[in-house]
Symmetry: C2
């Protein structure tokens, strides 16, 4: 990319994640009728300005199962406006696309269609609001995928067993396995998990090189004994789960200590506009996450190096400062972005290293980040062999 | 074009005209549910095989104002399959496209959109079945035009006055002014015609060089004193009127002797499938029409030349034979096409020529054309200055 933004490097996926946009919500309301449309416009504009590699939608793009003509027309218009164009795409797809994209007669990613000039591919699972119906099992999203504007994935056609095949994406040296599962009634999916009817397939080769991201659209909080999906049901090889459907914004990834993956719950972009008489300004909070594997720095230090923890701490300072610089530089292109980004540095200290005092570390950044108490996450990745060169940016609308 | 078909010359518009496809008609019927879909598929396939320059639809593409998801999905899928691709487009548009295409945020013809690779542009007016509704005045066709699959034209946004601006198309030396008017309740349009509230705009320069084609979707037969549009209401500068809405097939152009234009009424492609228990095979009848202006042959004969009528008759024989050869050659590419084409030779005998006996002329072709009694049409074009180099092929489905 020609952006001056240093984050646009050839090994880093830059992803805009959004969910529960609920396009068409309250569209007949005289005052708030345009809110969901303005929000989608803002989201797509943000993706364009930031030159993301792709957009990942976590379901409920449409509020109504059968969106109105205005709603479909607006959506098509905005997607064509923002997601078509000449910017080149810098990643490849290595998986069997006929398995990944199984809801149209065009089972390939839209940007590889020789008749469409796509600048920002959108990948989306469906939610419960816009789920498939009828004998054909089509959902509103499929009108967009038939026109080549969206890549609908994660649609399981079987009620007997669910096999989730990832879209395998590679950008430079970074490998991203994108799993998705469109909304299924919670109690049914719960039962299927319990009966071992849900399988997440993994690439046969180089399994450890893949960053595994899973988009799901289910109840996360317990609405009844089997009326939600416990995080523990999900495979522990996952690295990050993007949880749609829950409208509360818990975007900062929380670690599931048992499964050792992170869960981000972006929340709905439209629920925030529910409070009457508000004068909210939609804004997008940056979120940067990066991994550091201490064992990879053997040239600089080893567990037995004198004052090793000081050296590790300095390395982490430098990494965070770098992310803050990136964030600042990028924020200039996106005027509505709040000043303080969310910053996360995951430090893999396996191989004999120790942890350092994170509260002291955080003091240094208390005025610069939105989550000062929570910057460093220590983890030990049992089978990890290589550095996963990965960072992500997630945009989310907040009041 | 690389076709071996000699009709694909650089000055001839090759147009597939179809109307009243009524996609989704009886789609829930267990037996006939697919008929309207198969028909559209056949029509588009015919357009592709014959490498037409464009498709002109006369309204009622959709049977229901709000087509089902299946219906929209099928339509989008078929249009993307047949109308996108690498075949180059050989005509230009000279008119102001923001005036021609006023129902989307993309007011230009789809094949000129740099993000879409269109092989067959579709131009369509709307019918009464798929007419605009709601505050936004959008019709189902506008979902297709927003996605860039169809060029919706002829939508008048005013109820006060209607100004019909033509799409000015040029292919080689041939100039085609394409007028369209989407369906309007007959009595209202009747009244507007009577009150001089309907204006057909003409290009300021070289008016006589344009072939003027008008697509309309109204009652043609009298359903009540003001519940139809008399042909006499239409401007007499028109050359050909494509009349949609009337489902009866009267595709052979009939001449309105008062206005001196021709009217073709293709009829519905789906009404024919109404008879129960039929085993019909959808077929496409070729239709060729060509103009001869005797005054242009001054090198060969003049009105005072000895035996001039014999020479004129021989010229006409040669022209018809040529069209039959073209038809035969073309038919080989389209296996379902019936053997006998419709042939029309319009002979402009103004400038002192006389007419010859057409029934004797027709004897020669009785086994070769579908309309032997009706091949030659004599006409005198009052203001005509130049030969209009025009021929058309119209496909129509017949039982
Ligand atoms: Mn939702
Ligand atoms: Mn939901
Ligand atoms: Mn009709
Ligand atoms: Mn009609």
């Amino acid at each position: 990319m020609s952006s001056e933004n240093t984050l646009d490097d050839e090994d880093t996926f830059k992803i805009l994640i959004s969910t529960d946009i609920h396009l068409g919500y309250l569209e007949k309301d005289a005052i708030r009728g345009n809110d969901s449309y303005n929000t989608l416009n803002e989201i797509l504009n943000c993706a364009k300005i930031n030159q993301v590699d792709f957009i990942l939608l976590g379901g409920d793009l449409f509020h109504d199962n059968k969106p109105t003509r205005r709603c479909l027309h607006s959506c098509i218009t905005m997607l064509r406006k923002y997601c078509m164009g000449d910017s080149p795409i810098h990643f490849n797809i290595l998986s069997d696309q006929t398995v990944n994209f199984n809801t149209t007669k065009f089972p390939w990613v839209n940007y590889q269609d020789e008749n469409l000039n796509i600048s920002i591919p959108v990948f989306s699972i469906h939610g419960n609001h816009d789920d498939p119906t009828g004998a054909e099992g089509l959902c509103a999203l499929d009108l967009l995928s038939a026109s080549g504007l969206v890549n609908h994935f994660g649609h399981s056609h079987s009620v007997e067993r669910i096999e989730i095949s990832p879209i395998l994406l590679q950008k430079g040296s970074t490998k991203l396995a994108l799993y998705g599962l469109g909304s299924i009634p919670d109690e049914r999916l719960y039962r299927m998990f319990v009966n071992n009817q849900v399988t997440m397939l993994r690439p046969k080769e180089d399994q450890d090189e893949w960053f595994n991201l899973f988009a799901i659209h289910q109840n996360r909080s317990k609405h009844g004994p089997t009326n939600y999906i416990p995080e523990q049901f999900l495979d522990d090889f996952l690295d990050l789960v993007v949880w749609g459907h829950e409208h509360e914004c818990l975007i900062t990834p929380t670690r599931n200590e048992q499964q050792l993956f992170y869960v981000t719950q972006p929340g709905s972009s439209v629920a925030t506009s529910l409070s009457p008489g508000r004068s909210h300004q939609e804004t997008v909070r940056q979120f940067f996450i990066q991994d550091v594997v201490l064992a990879d720095y053997e040239d600089a230090f080893m567990p037995e190096t004198p004052q090793v923890m000081k050296k590790v701490e300095n390395l982490c300072y430098a990494k965070v400062a770098e992310m803050l610089e990136d964030a600042e530089r990028e924020r200039l292109g996106c005027p509505l972005t709040p000043e303080k980004p969310l910053i996360r540095l995951r430090v893999d200290y396996s191989g004999g290293f120790e942890t350092f005092n994170t509260s002291r570390f955080s003091q240094k950044f208390v005025d610069q980040v939105a989550n000062p108490k929570d910057i460093i996450h220590f983890l030990r990745r049992r089978e990890k062999k290589e550095d996963i060169n990965w960072s992500a940016q997630m945009c989310h609308y907040e009041v």
